[in-house]
């Protein structure tokens, strides 16, 4: 299974990933209307790309009152017809990886297996790659860091 893996130590903060996402999905350039965000603070000295981590035990899946979110072959998928826009998924996501913009709920769908964001990253801080034991272990450690940053 291929996932988006993030390498914050390589991330320069530029947000081209977010712009590529918003342009692909909405025809506009808007880092706040994208499924991938760069959490950054130059005074606190960190840059961290945040995108759906396709959690094994995804809180969004179990929280959705409409059963609109499912894990479909390892990918968290939202059924627009079932979704009533209650935003509970966005609230329960511990990584704020589901964003909202106006009425829009924005969630990474891996562009159907061809994620655009990774193509614009100049430092390979985000990569679309097969899961390996090592990559998954790295991801676990990173998630712990994200939770600290987001506090």
């Amino acid at each position: 299974m291929k996932y988006i893996f993030v390498y914050p130590e390589r991330c320069t903060g530029c947000r081209l990933c977010s712009l590529a996402c918003s342009l692909t999905k909405y025809g506009e350039c808007n880092p706040r209307k994208a499924a991938i965000s760069v959490v950054r603070d130059e005074f606190e000295r960190f840059e961290f790309p945040v995108v759906c981590f396709q959690c094994q035990d995804a809180p969004c899946v179990s929280a959705c009152p409409q059963n609109a979110i499912t894990k479909d072959e390892g990918v968290v998928t939202r059924d627009d017809d079932r979704c009533i826009g209650c935003r509970l998924c966005a609230v329960v996501c511990p990584f704020s990886a589901i964003t909202t913009h106006g009425k829009e709920l924005i969630h990474c769908d891996l562009c159907g297996g061809d994620p655009q964001c990774v193509k614009y990253c100049s430092t390979k801080a985000i990569e679309y790659a097969e899961e390996t034991q090592e990559a998954m272990q790295r991801r676990k450690e990173q998630l712990a860091r994200v939770l600290i940053i987001e506090k």
Binding site: C14, L16, G27, E28, P31, K33
Partner: protein, 610 residues
């Protein structure tokens, strides 16, 4: 199409007017630096004191800023400069300008003076003037941190203590290191009681042809990232330029008494203080060091001017001075130039020593430099004199002017000693805001092994391959001036601009494609070239209104009269006669008369644009 909205904020009246920049202004000037100077020329009375409420301060984003376009993050701030008395115009990266656009504004034009410390808050189409008493007195880091605590994930263009105290080389800052560095426009903010321009935006920019832009940006990104110079910049940042210039004997050292300095300031020695390379919005170069001493940088400019020029050879000390200036909100280029100037005035006894407020001045003294920078930002003791920058000639007396490395009263930003490369000399002599490397630097002249045909393809024919020859060098400056004006107007960083660091990269053709895809404007390359000339002419008209004459398109006395003492450049200086002849040829290329005046016909033509 994205609406090109501006706000006119009158701080005296507390009023805000919102309008839209006309299509014809955009076609004539694009945005950023170009549109800013258009508005300044329209709105400013010529005899205004730059630190009075009558000065007009304009923040304007590039026309392509904020889009999915490499390195399109930039904005210009424009006003009459309190440092030079001529055009004040400064270009800055970071994350502020995209945020301003996402908040709904391309440009904010600030008039008058607030009664009390204030900031302007732009948020999704609204503009508010708010009380900044809680932020007044904070340095440039702290004010941004506090604004984020109070307002959330905002971006701000701020001024530090130096701006509040009206230091004539106080700058405007965003993030840790991005600076609208030149011309003292931070002091213009201070004079208006304006601490910050703050933005928060969720609006996004509509794209004319999304598919086309996605494809184009991928293609251009690949092209740029495959360039050798870009991979060096991404690893070492601009400090790699120090070594190149130093080998040539072109590093300003001790107020240009010398022209080369210690290898201990080569880029590799700054590497051990680099924690990570970080970037401005949309940047694919990432030239900026996050240093291990709680700051970012230094750039090549700062290494030269707060290193070699004041006789400092320890990288750690340079970084410390860099970080200090950034916190205080001082332009490192003017800071290093002014310190070196007064050190020489004192050491040589050119000025009576009673004029130095009891300070004992000398080169190679880190603690002294540090203490003087702090005093300057706060206008204490001798710092109150240094805070006047080149205007301190009035205090030190006319003889002191002979030792000042400045053009049009602006201390030279480029650490490059221009006695060897004649095109660089013409560049700093004619740049619209004074002695500056970012307006007209014909950099390819420094690549001594670059094939002649490559140079001629860019600059035109009839240019001597010898960097010390004056022949045809006006063409290199003319070309560079125009190209950089266009790249500033669209908001793309010069580090990926054709001709700035490389004979490749983003030139008129790529700008044309980006304009078409992103904002749906069709231009011919020739039209874009004309825009570059139009921007330069408008800046010239404004400078002429401020009283500029041919005599101001000149060089520091030392570059004419004192041959460089060291290395390859040894024995080289600028010949007055040959310089004047080269200047004549430059004026002819621009269509200006022999006094450097713009013709009435051209003025009428440009003033008709609305």
């Amino acid at each position: 199409m994205t609406a090109n909205q501006y706000a006119i904020v009158n701080l005296s009246k507390g009023s805000v007017k919102i309008g839209e920049t006309s299509a014809s202004i955009i076609r004539s000037y694009l945005g950023g630096r170009g549109t800013n100077v258009y508005y300044l020329n329209k709105l400013l009375r010529k005899d205004v004191d730059p630190l009075s409420p009558e000065n007009v301060l304009i923040f304007g984003s590039g026309l392509l800023t904020g889009f999915l376009i490499p390195n399109a993050s930039r904005f210009n701030v424009t006003a009459k400069s309190p440092e030079s008395g001529f055009l004040g115009d400064t270009n800055c990266g970071g994350y502020f300008a995209p945020e301003m656009r996402y908040a709904g504004f391309d440009r904010v034009i600030i008039l008058g003076k607030a009664k009390k410390p204030s900031y302007i808050f732009l948020q999704d189409g609204s503009v508010e003037i708010r009380d900044a008493s809680a932020y007044w007195g904070l340095d440039t880091y702290d004010v941004q941190t506090e604004l984020r605590k109070d307002l959330g994930d905002v971006q701000a263009a701020v001024t530090g203590e130096a701006g509040e105290k009206l230091v004539r080389f106080a700058n405007i800052r965003n993030g840790v290191k991005n600076a609208g560095g030149r011309g003292g426009l931070g002091a213009v903010m201070g004079s208006k009681n304006l601490k910050a321009l703050v933005a928060y935006g969720t609006r996004g920019l509509k794209v004319a042809h999304p598919e086309q832009l996605l494809e184009l940006t991928r293609r251009v990104n690949d092209y740029v990232m495959n360039s050798k110079v870009i991979s060096v910049m991404g690893k070492l940042g601009s400090p790699y330029l120090y070594d190149v210039s130093n080998e040539l004997g072109a590093i300003r050292t001790k107020n240009s008494q010398l022209n080369a300095w210690s290898d201990s300031l080569n880029a590799e020695y700054f590497e051990e203080y680099a924690e990570k390379m970080v970037s401005c919005a949309s940047c694919i170069v990432h030239c900026r060091h996050r240093n291990t001493m709680n700051g970012e940088g230094p750039e090549y400019t700062t290494i030269g001017l707060l290193g070699a020029n004041i006789g400092i050879s320890d990288p750690k000390q340079v970084i410390e001075l860099n970080n200090l200036c950034n916190r205080l909100g001082l332009d490192t280029a003017s800071a290093g130039s002014i310190l070196a100037w007064v050190f020489e005035l004192y050491e040589k006894g050119i000025v009576d020593r009673t004029k130095f407020h009891g300070e004992k001045l000398e080169f190679e003294n880190f603690e002294l430099a540090k203490s003087l920078l702090e005093k300057t930002a706060r206008r204490e003791g001798l710092g109150d004199v240094l805070a006047e920058s080149s205007q301190a000639v009035q205090y030190f007396g006319p003889k002191s002017a002979d030792y000042l490395i400045a053009v049009k009263n602006l201390p030279q930003s480029d650490p490059h000693d221009v006695r060897y490369i004649k095109a660089f000399a013409l560049g700093i002599a004619t740049a619209s805001r004074g002695a500056d490397h970012l307006r007209s630097r014909p950099t390819l002249e420094i690549f001594l092994r670059l094939p002649q045909e490559v140079k001629e393809k860019i600059y035109g024919t009839g240019i001597s391959p010898d960097p010390t020859s004056y022949e045809g060098k006006e063409k290199t400056v003319f070309w560079s001036d125009n190209m950089y004006a266009v790249i500033d107007a669209v908001g793309i960083c010069k580090f990926i601009c054709h001709g700035f660091n490389s004979p490749h990269l983003i030139g008129y053709e790529q700008v044309r494609e980006f304009l078409q895809a992103a904002v749906g404007l069709d231009f011919e390359v020739q039209e874009l070239k004309e825009i570059g000339q139009r921007i330069i002419d408008t800046e010239r008209i404004l400078n002429l209104r401020f009283g500029l004459t041919r005599a101001d398109d000149s060089l520091p006395k030392r570059y004419f009269d004192d041959p460089a003492p060291l290395k390859t450049a040894q024995g080289h200086h600028i010949d007055r006669q040959q310089f004047q002849t080269m200047l004549n040829r430059y004026y002819q290329l621009r269509g200006w008369n022999d006094q450097g005046m713009v013709t009435h016909k051209r003025i009428t033509e440009l003033e008709a644009i609305e």
